[in-house]
Symmetry: C2
Subunit: 149 residues, 2 copies
Amino acid sequence: MMVDERWMRLALEEAKKAFLKDEVPIGAIAIVGDEVIARAHNLKETNHDATHHAELLLLQECARILGRWRLTDVTIYATIEPCIMCMGAMSHARIKRLVYGARDEKFGGAHSLYQIAHDERLNHRFEVEEGILADEASQIMKDFFKRKR
Amino acid sequence: MMVDERWMRLALEEAKKAFLKDEVPIGAIAIVGDEVIARAHNLKETNHDATHHAELLLLQECARILGRWRLTDVTIYATIEPCIMCMGAMSHARIKRLVYGARDEKFGGAHSLYQIAHDERLNHRFEVEEGILADEASQIMKDFFKRKR
């Protein structure tokens, strides 16, 4: 739990980087053992690419760094519940565990709309934990959308 | 219909390129108006990246070429029913239409496991047509997995 909060703080730092770029402020980091191997934040507007969510960029960065597609030793910390696309990507990459902060009722694929990590028809299931530093993760989102209006 | 078959032949050519690289033989192309703007095939093993499905690479290539994340004028032809990740990506990119060949009962996110394009909770829905040159698309998959065994 303390460890989860420590890593989630780094994911929140990534979310803040996105905020400063006028991107929806979502961040994610990847851990192997006791080491951060990759960090990413949402870059959809900056890169003009709808797939450039923090988590998808993170998975692609992990693959580049590790030189393999099976990420069975990787735990991902994401500030907000990942969407369907990103949950599908985590399933393909066979990640070990996902920890996220606040739920996303509109797009969430881990709990809200779908439960991709626990779909028994898929050939990889993984542990999901939610609610770590959720208030901070959702506050930065609220601040962002308030400024947008 | 004739037009759909004509484009699907190009997607099948991409699938054949994947086959020759010892990749699961799935191909996809992107059309705007009457023009092919991007082609892609599965490169998961070659690139050591679980996200490098034909359709996801295609969407990222479209974004690069067009310089925008909204692909509302793009029709995608894929030889096999796209997975959950790729369907989520198409939804985010707001594509116009998806045409695919054969169903994928194990991973399909357009019909088989989920119906992402028609989920009324998501903020983009798009037309999906299946069955175009389905026999050819599934035959190349069968040939591939037969050789693998």
